[in-house]
Symmetry: D2
Subunit: 348 residues, 4 copies
């Protein structure tokens, strides 16, 4: 079979570079182009020296996004661009019939008004391509596999979102009634991206820990609530509290739910749901998920505990924000779209 020819927009972001590295070692992929607005004409290893020496990466100089979207000999385009910029550039690609995986939030939110409320501002007052939203499939393979296989546009889920949905969706789909949901999530600093900010300056993030955007302020909230509501068959509201961990990679979410089941029953439902999934591991309460067990892999580890004395059941889930939370999941979606083995390029 011919290799899938892929292009990557926004290749110099952390998710972009991670994706390019994985693509370079994928047995059924050839890299058609890597693109970057800021570093046009340079080689990716001049920005990420770790990537030096990998032939397929060294040979591809970064091209401008404008040139990239004009390229014809490509089967799949990944966008690691920020929202708004992403959908804008993807429109001509999609119109050419090329399949796309968008790692930005642009195609995740089905309700245009919700999108506008959370993502639009004076500079970007509108969604760049509202007519394409309904064609997009939410790229969570464990829950949308058939739709992904048939899709031309994948909205790759947010990193926090994946860590919260994977433990909860099987419960809601399995008829568990959940009253309140509180997700206390902690993320490594790479989740904040490569752009420089005072709070991610080493001496301020190191030996520190803090909450941010808590109290219904983080943009991943509507995405979680959308998918939880779809699974529950009714509107779901939740509390989402992100925190900044002084580590490079990884998210761990501690999720408190008041449900009509015990922790063991929840674990059982979720274990059955994911029984044949290659990238979800349901663990025992005696072996709680730890970030170190999933970094640099596409696994999401999950466990359930608590729930005694009438107190909430507690789900703990963890994944690598750059892999299962972004580029690994994007690759998993591509594998499904192109009929490749789902784990291709993802086991190491």
């Amino acid at each position: 079979m011919d290799k899938v020819r892929v292009g990557v927009l926004g290749a110099t972001s952390y998710t972009g570079a991670e994706l390019v590295r994985m693509l370079a070692f994928h047995p059924s992929v050839s890299i058609a182009y890597v693109s970057s607005q800021s570093y046009e004409g340079k080689a990716l290893p001049s920005i990420f020296p770790a990537l030096a020496g990998i032939k397929e990466i060294n040979d591809n100089l970064l091209i401008s996004p404008q040139e990239a979207v004009g390229r014809r000999s490509v089967d799949c385009v990944f966008s690691c661009l920020p929202h708004a910029a992403s959908a804008e550039l993807l429109v001509p690609v999609i119109e050419k019939g090329v399949k796309v995986v968008d790692l930005s939030a642009d195609f995740r939110i089905r309700d245009i008004n919700v999108y506008k409320k959370w993502y639009c501002d004076d500079k970007h007052p509108n969604h760049p391509a509202p007519h394409l939203i309904e064609k997009a499939v939410f790229g969570l393979p464990e829950h949308y596999r058939p739709q992904i296989a048939a899709a031309s546009i994948i909205a790759n889920p947010g990193c926090y979102v994946t860590s919260v949905l994977l433990p909860l969706l099987p419960l809601l789909k399995g008829g568990v009634s959940i009253d309140t949901i509180i997700a206390d999530s902690k993320s490594g600093v790479s989740g904040a991206g490569r752009g420089l900010k005072q709070n991610t300056h080493f001496p301020e993030a190191h030996e520190n820990f803090s909450a941010y955007s808590i109290g219904r302020k983080h943009r991943h909230t509507p995405e979680m609530e959308q998918e939880l509501s779809l699974a529950a068959g009714k509107p779901v509201q939740m509390t989402f509290s992100p925190h900044l961990l002084p580590i490079n990679r990884g998210i761990l979410s501690t999720i408190y739910i008041t449900a009509n089941r015990t922790a063991a029953e929840c674990a059982d439902i979720v274990k059955k749901f994911y029984a044949s999934e290659p990238f979800v591991r349901v663990r025992e309460p005696s072996d709680l998920p730890q970030i170190a067990n999933v970094v640099h892999t596409n696994y999401c580890d999950i466990a359930f505990t608590g729930g005694t004395d009438g107190l909430p059941v507690i789900a703990v889930s963890t994944l690598d924000n750059l892999v299962k939370g972004a580029s690994g999941q994007a690759l998993q979606n591509m594998n499904i779209m192109f009929g490749l083995p789902e784990t291709a390029g993802l086991m190491r």
Copy 2:
């Protein structure tokens, strides 16, 4: 005024060494002895080289606990020993009329059956001194100052406990009705002590993050519930979830409460309650507490946010587990007991 002559049991634990360092620079204290079972006869700086060169510390060789409790010329004894061992050694000290500050859990729990359930085992089937429990005062100065001033036995609160009680007690005392309490707490590794364990071996704790003892399993739970119940005037149950942060010092607790007040109203009540307190800083939601702002100080920083759309109010609190969470608070208690300025030896 004469200096307060103090002795320290368990001086080679992390809390012990931190306490000795603070005592050495306290203007109204002289160190009568430092004691350690394992390192008898050695100088403290041979175990903690950072303490070298401080005359008062160099001159005091570590004596055995047995010798220590026999010493007469001492006004106050701090115990940094583990529970059970602590009360056992403190009994003869207390009987001599010497004031004690116990950093272990032995005198924190008022109900002997609750103590037995959480702390006793085959090796230590009973509390070593049940008759002394009712004489002990819970050493949270912001809430028990007059009692501390008159006390001869101080039960210094646990580190997690202090971070959870300080934001919540003023609400309960102020008549706020709180239905559910979930404390998602994160602690630096020094909180686990100086003893070697696989999960605190550097390569396993670093670049990692995990929950432990969640689901009503951590020993600080009954201590929190006791004080919350006293303040509420009725039994309070709560969820307490500790996590291990890959940093040396500091605790941050994110606490979710369903209360009949807004976050702003809660902040207002707490701000008024602590208006003249030297070591509690109530911050704005735009300036959330961060561990880096309190390490190496005796401050506890608190803020309130959330509570919109019918969702829980969120309290965030942070402190240094070795200072306000242990040795600093112990020193603050000593200052109160001996009529010294409450901030003496604690500002830096």
Copy 3:
């Protein structure tokens, strides 16, 4: 072609677990057994939960070393055991005609008296198999490839050693005259192994940095001097100063040499020497090696600078102590011994 059937002794050390993970994803390898004295009968993922879900690893319960060395259907055995224990167990394996890669120091030192001086003590007064030393090949593929291809015993080099030899050997072999060598090396904590020690307890290693075993005290010294002397054709003595970095993985060596060449000339010689090597990258002085560029890979990055004003030339080299410094290099050696592509299982 049939898969190479491999066994791993000492599979529960850090190097062992890293090796097993790499072997599980190697396209031409099947794991015959994994062995551990302490964890016999358990599954490897019960000790390293990160490895859960990988079929080949889950299916292999840990067997005792005694059982392991009796196994017949195996083509290659890796030993990740400590010195002395390693050679002792490998003797019967070697006698059966099975090829071995020994990650311990047992077969690295050619002069038995040097070995005794650095490695023997009252408990292990002699080398367990002195007659086999001369059959062993020093497993540095870039310098012993033909010998490795024909070898039955590989002495896999030490982690520090590899970082020091790779930049220096081509100079000495190229006729550069070097008068003095000072290697100031810094290693992440995994290099100290999985055993618990006070100086690798998280709160003591984190936010810390220190030298250890400096002044001709570290066991990697004789191994470096042996290979440098062989390349120089005369005895070479050097200064080797290891330091403990507060990171998990990676070594960076800053090496000062007084040589009769400029830094640029040295870089040129080394670049030519390694021109077709897949795992050595010679970098420009403007792009100095950094640990983050090599961790989790089998690369060694090297650059040369300094040498102006009559001052020493400076070589900087870096590698991952668990990969090119141990298990990755061991796998590279196995690939060569069995005629497999040298990069098989090593690119990711």
Copy 4:
């Protein structure tokens, strides 16, 4: 005695904030003003929330440098500004007869041509006040105490510089003949300042380690060579190699010297030289200096080892770059200038 009234220029740099914190708790100091170009009108705790609640700091709003240098009722001004800007603003202060401690490099280099070579560029082609250079005293108290006591301008030494000079100067002054000097230094990230750069972005500095400006490129080189040459009575050249450690604070220098003395003799000379110094601790080779032993203190720890088999003697020294390497040493200098106890405000 009246309190010393001090002003701080550049109070929002890391060294500035650390200095202000120390000044606030100094028993004989009152803060006259804190100044910042970028944050004029704000309170320091709004930039450094850790400083909230300290009355003397809260009450002082940041004033502009222009307003600051016009203030009359001040006894001593500290400048934490960058070079060039620092001397420029200090000129009018000095002319008013106010004593100054300059933490920049402006008054450290005695030879104007050396200063120009290392510090001047198109934007700042000249030293702002060459006529004042000869009035300045190099602020290393252990070596210039009498001159500091009489000085009106203190050139506070660089952080790396202090770590290299303290172990070497007593040797040169004691007649030891040193042929070559190589200082391999490692610094925490706060040494790079508060300004944002890609290499100090958390995900790029964390779990990383690298050399920078090695090969005679770092600006601290001429300052070291100047003082070493003065002590040796002849020109001294040296190799200085700085590295970036993934920690917040602390410098450790491993210094290789070829000298006509053993390590023990060197240690002896240095121990005698510093016998009555409050802030230098000479340690045994069995108890090598570690960064964790000096952070947050004004100590410099030193030890000597190596020197066997004709190899170089090795000095290891460590200090906190923000304390003995900057603000603590500045305060020590102020104490000497104003006849205060030298340790005032510096023990904790």
